[in-house]
């Protein structure tokens, strides 16, 4: 009671906010802690999934490090040949050209580098691509490296490292000793620990066609203030690695290091420009940042797709927050009315609701960030495997918590929560007190007609957006912005229309039985669905639609790839280096080896393939050389634009002709008869495109030329792969086993095995997609449970009446189960229907615009039916549980 002497005065704004938060928001949270907690956890799951994918992507991209940096410092310019290796003679040119009279102090360190991928020999005969651990072998001048160590006051103990297990070893390797060992290698301490390597241990690796025993001579020294060398890095003296990797006289790149005083500012830019211009076009110069950006560009489409998929759970979560807050508005109408009657203004009520949404978002954000970081440790392996298989070698095994990403996820959580809470807050603030009292706690019926109309408008807009072209960016990369917007609007629009599907579900339920009271009651609820019903159905529809849409895409992709490999993989046996476990491994088979193999009398026909990465302006592609006559003879190519000029198949006349993959044609906007310029060590070559073929194994773009010409341009007779057609009657598996015994360092596949491997890798790349979809559906189902629980709570009076009329707890559980079943059925069927549209959008628009692959559409009936069956089933079970719990009314309990 207020003492008479105390004057009544309005609460100040902060006090009012605090009071509202305490008495209005937190009190309700305390009253229904499990519901609040579940909502928070669902939101946090959405955030966690999103963040985990972001962190995993980041880890995979950042694992594309310039390994030299670990040994020296960040270089300023990286020089490489646009195609093929650099000759060592380039070093003389560089030393000459890296003198700048105007900058006498600009002493530039020139560091030549050889880098290659090697793999551990297989321990069993499984021969699974990507199953062998791979290492990056970095060849640098160990003597010159001492200068960097001295400059940074580093421990220069590359040489003389002792066996930790036997520290009294009398003769550690001196630097001179190291230089004379052709197999001396330094490894990271992480690898030494993992493989129990000591100084003097032998590490067998496959390089090209040979197994080499690397002698571990020490741990790679590194500065305490820098990240530890990656586990998969091995360092050798440059000439030793040149010899081992068959690159004598050749370099993979040269890195330039400016003096610290020129690290920044216009002088540095001037130097970069001057060197780049002086060396172009035979040498391409890129800063490490640009090189990293190129790697990021390479995987951008893949990463973007994953990120967008990861937002599915959050999107579904938003529906739930909206519902939960909307339900809370209904539940608390009486309180709102009291507050309004006491003089709390509209905007203050709205602000209280928004605070509640923000708190929910904040809590979800914090838990989501922690969960996201944990999930990322799992996701990073899946992302890393895919990046390894499709793009470049990377050894990302753990994802660090990036504070920028974490903050972004937190802000997203709070922002989305406020966004979802905006409408309920507005509704809460705008209802007059008298009306609030009058309507009690009934859930709003919602305006189904306007929702449907808006939904149809969004769907129409989505259809229009689907016809817009992608955004084109540097290097021929594209971003299907309109396609993604179309998908979003389509899914949201379909969700808004979901209310109508509830009526259809009610009608269907009516057909099933008219004798069951719980069913009839459930149908009556769905005939006039509340907004709660509609949003639950919309969330389910959204999840099912996206899951189904992705299933359609994956099925179409799988069918297309399957058809492609059936068409392409015609030979009986396929041979490549056992070290080629990742897309970026370019180990080769020397001519002495493959020529010996093809001379076997069991071999009927054979072909070789040489693959060389090449660089067009701002874009990485691959050049492939093989016998085009062989390809024609075995009908290996699936044509999109069939060659009209048969000279392309004649080695005597096809030196200036080529074929390009579909991805290349789309990426660079070229077609048959266009002329392209490709770089070679013997100068740029102009090639006329004679045809366009499909290739689902590469998204960067392939240029296919006659093998002998490519070998001539790149002055090599080694090949990347060899395929053999065996004489009739020869058992491929037996022949493979014989070859494998004779050449254990090779990966040899039969046709059946290789096809199975391709499909396995294909499915592996979609593993994370499935996981994301499953999480989305789980969130939606959990949302359905929350919705039904809310609805039942709102109907407490009705349920009490029903119990009084003789309905048992089981009957009420059955009522909830029917309601949940029909609701889930509506969401699932609506989702499945819209998934077909979404699938088409993914196949014909988003995939085509992003990756450039034409896919043959295929409906995965079984997964879709399974989804259509499982979602209502789970919904029914969940609803039954909720109903049984909700029917446990106080009236049932003994006094």
């Amino acid at each position: 009671m207020i003492p008479p002497s105390t004057p009544l005065r309005p609460l100040s704004s902060p006090s009012l906010n605090g009071a509202l938060l305490q008495q209005f928001t937190l009190r309700h949270w305390r009253l229904f802690p499990s519901r609040s907690l579940l909502l928070l956890l669902l939101l946090s799951l959405g955030i966690a999934v999103f963040l985990s994918i972001r962190l995993a992507n980041r880890a995979a991209v950042s694992s594309f490090t310039n390994f030299t940096e670990v040994l020296t410092r960040q270089s300023d310019l990286i020089l490489s040949s646009p195609a093929g290796p650099l000759p060592e003679t380039v070093l003389d040119t560089l030393r000459e050209r890296c003198k700048f009279p105007q900058l006498p102090s600009a002493h530039i360190e020139i560091v030549p580098v050889v880098e290659t991928i090697c793999a551990q020999p297989q321990s069993d005969d499984a021969n699974r691509i990507g199953s062998r651990p791979t290492f990056t072998l970095l060849g640098v001048d160990l003597v010159a490296l001492q200068n960097f160590a001295a400059e940074a006051h580093l421990d220069t103990s590359w040489a003389g490292q002792k066996n930790a297990a036997a520290p009294s070893t009398p003769n550690p390797n001196s630097l001179e000793d190291l230089l004379h060992k052709n197999n001396a290698a330094f490894c990271s301490s992480a690898l030494a620990q993992r493989l129990s390597l000591q100084v003097g241990s032998l590490l067998p690796v496959i390089l090209n066609d040979c197994e080499v025993q690397l002698e571990i001579v020490g741990i790679i020294p590194h500065r305490a203030d820098q990240p530890a060398p990656p586990a998969g890095l091995l360092v050798m003296d440059l000439p030793a690695l040149q010899t081992l990797s068959d690159k004598v006289g050749l370099l993979d790149r040269v890195e330039l290091f400016f003096p610290p005083s020129l690290k920044k500012g216009p002088l540095r830019e001037q130097l970069v420009e001057q060197i780049s211009t002086a060396l172009a076009p035979s040498i391409s110069a890129r800063t490490p940042v640009a090189r990293q950006a190129a790697a990021e560009l390479m995987t951008r489409g893949f990463r973007l797709n994953l990120t967008i998929l990861s937002l599915l759970s959050l999107l579904v979560g938003l529906y739930l927050i909206f519902q939960a807050l909307d339900a809370a508005v209904v539940r608390r109408r009486a309180e709102i009315a009291i507050l309004r009657a006491l003089g709390v203004r509209e905007w203050e009520v709205r602000r209280a609701w928004l605070w509640e949404a923000a708190l929910l978002g904040g809590g979800g954000g914090v838990v989501g960030v922690l969960g996201g970081w944990a999930l990322a440790q799992v996701a990073v392996r899946a992302v890393s495997k895919t990046v390894n298989a499709l793009y470049y070698a990377n050894n990302a095994e753990a994802a660090g918590l990036h504070w920028g990403e974490a903050l972004g996820a937190f802000v997203l959580s709070v922002g989305c929560s406020i966004l979802a809470g905006w409408l309920p807050a507005k509704r809460a603030a705008s209802i007059p007190p008298a009306q609030a009292w009058a309507q009690g706690s009934a859930a709003p019926a919602g305006n189904s007609r306007s929702s449907s109309q808006l939904g149809w408008c969004l769907v129409a807009l989505a259809i229009m957006l689907a016809f817009l072209p992608p955004l084109r960016m540097s290097g021929g990369s594209r971003f299907a912005l309109a396609g993604y917007l179309s998908a979003l609007l389509g899914v949201v629009g379909a969700g808004l229309i979901a209310g109508d599907a509830l009526k259809i579900a009610a009608w269907c339920g009516h057909l099933v039985s008219q004798n069951s009271a719980p069913l009839r009651l459930a149908i009556s609820h769905l005939r006039a669905p509340t907004s709660r019903h509609r949003w639950a159905a919309a969330a389910l529809l959204c999840a099912v639609s996206m899951t189904g849409g992705m299933a359609v895409l994956v099925s179409s992709f799988e069918q297309s790839v399957s058809a492609w490999i059936t068409h392409t993989l015609q030979a009986d046996l396929f041979l490549t280096s056992g070290a080629n476990q990742a897309a970026s491994a370019y180990n080769r088979l020397p001519s002495t080896l493959w020529r010996q193999i093809v001379q076997n009398p069991d071999v009927l026909d054979w072909d070789t393939s040489l693959m060389i990465p090449a660089e067009l302006p701002n874009a990485q592609i691959r050049l492939v050389g093989s016998s085009l006559a062989f390809a024609k003879r075995h009908q290996q190519l699936s044509w999109l634009q069939t060659p009209s000029n048969n000279s392309i198949f004649d080695p005597e006349h096809n030196a200036s002709l080529c074929l390009v993959s579909e991805t290349f044609a789309i990426r660079f906007n070229v077609q048959k008869n266009d002329v392209i310029r490709i770089p070679t060590p013997k100068g740029a070559r102009e090639l006329q495109i004679c045809g366009v073929y499909t290739d689902y194994g590469d998204e960067q773009g392939l240029v296919l030329v006659e093998g002998r010409h490519l070998a001539d341009w790149f002055d090599t007779d080694a090949v990347s792969t060899l395929c053999l057609s065996l004489k009739p009657g020869v058992d491929a598996e037996q022949h493979r086993a014989l070859l494998q015994t004779a050449h254990p360092s090779l990966s040899i596949f039969t046709n059946v095995h290789l096809r199975a491997e391709v499909m396995r890798i294909f499915r592996q790349t979609f593993a994370i997609t499935y996981a994301l979809e499953a999480i989305g559906v789980i969130v939606a189902l959990a949302g359905l449970g929350i919705t039904l629980a809310t609805i039942l709570a709102e109907r407490k009076t009705e349920l009490t009446t029903l119990r009084a009329l003789g309905m048992s707890q089981a009957d009420i559980a059955a009522l909830a189960a029917w309601e949940g079943c029909l609701l889930a059925l509506a969401g699932a069927i609506g989702g499945l229907l819209s998934s077909i549209g979404l699938g088409a959008l993914l196949i014909f628009v988003i995939n085509k615009q992003t990756f450039g692959w034409t896919l043959q559409p295929s409906l995965p009936w079984l997964p879709l039916l399974l989804l259509g069956f499982c979602v209502p089933l789970c919904g029914t079970l969940l609803a039954w549980c909720v109903g049984r719990h909700g029917a446990d009314l106080p009236a049932d309990r003994p006094l």
Partner: protein
Amino acid sequence: MKQTHLHALAVCLCLLLSNPGHHFGAPPENPSEQPPGQPLERPQKQPPADSNPALFPELARFTEDGFEVPQPGHHFTFPRDHGSHPAFKLEWWYLTGHLFGPNQERFGFQATIFRKSGKPPSQAVNASKSRFEKDEFFLVHTALLNTLSGEFLHSERLARAGWDASASTDTLSLHMGDFQLVLSDPTLNKITLDAHIRDQATFSLSLEPIKPLVVFGENGISRKGNSPTAASWYLTFPRLKTTGTLTLKNKSIPVTGEVWMDHEISSSQLTTEQVGWDWAGIQLDDGREIMVYRLRLKDGSPDPASALSWVDRNGHAIMQSASTFSWNGTGVWKSPHSGAAYPLPVRLTATDPATGLPVEFILVPLVQDQELEGTFSDVPYWEGACRVLQNGKPVGSAYVELTGYSGSLNRALR
């Protein structure tokens, strides 16, 4: 002799390239007696010597690992002998000098390039030169003292022979990165030097001998100890007139001055009894020079191979043995970097051959802190510009090298 110079860099390079904790450059116990591939030649010049040849055993022809040992009476031919000698294990070109700017600036500088072979050419498996040699290495030390600011800059760089480091066997033509020392005019023996100290300083100098080349030692041989392989050919331009440009912190300063240049060729120089050495190259204002080195034995006494040579105005060298001169510190400078206590300034007493009277010089550092860290070898040493005082009056300039005062060298030697 630039012996001391030799030693400092020899230690650096040998320590770096060989096993940690192993000896550096110690002579083989059983030098090969195989006949040499190179015939003995008539010595170019017989230096007036009062040294005692009986102190030293006869020189071996080859070291145990097959490198040639410098022999007396060698007939030097130029410009070839200014160039590299791959048949010998160790070789260096050592320039120290005093430069002056137009605004009272005074600088001391050091630019040294050192070559070490891992195997003699006769044992090379592959005759073709690789761009990444495994058996020949170069080490460059550069240092610059700015007496106005007291700043002492220095750097070390290491390279293997190949694309970025090479030494011609025909003439003086040494390259290592941006460092180059080239005989630009063989007729006048003009030399150009381009060097840098990281991005802090560069010098581009033209050097022209004011006095003829001196070959130190008896019969062209400079003995460095009682080992049959501890000897070198020691060639010196004691005074090179120098002009050029010094760029310090992006500011170009025209400089002139005088430089001392040593070129020493050997296959083994140190003995295990020697724990350090002191060296000085003194340019007196009267046109004469003094080269002196003191090799210190474990008991603190000078090795009998220590020597002092006067170079008269006409370029003739007069060698004096270890017993005829003394080298003592008049104070101690303790390095804040390595903790080594260097005996500085230096009091040098000897007999002036012009007068036959004893003479005493005090070598006073222009700046105390001229210690090089010896990053690669962990063997710090002091190499610095000094003024030369006689009876308290300046009579010339000098460069002094003090090695083996940090203890590291002793550890290395053991």
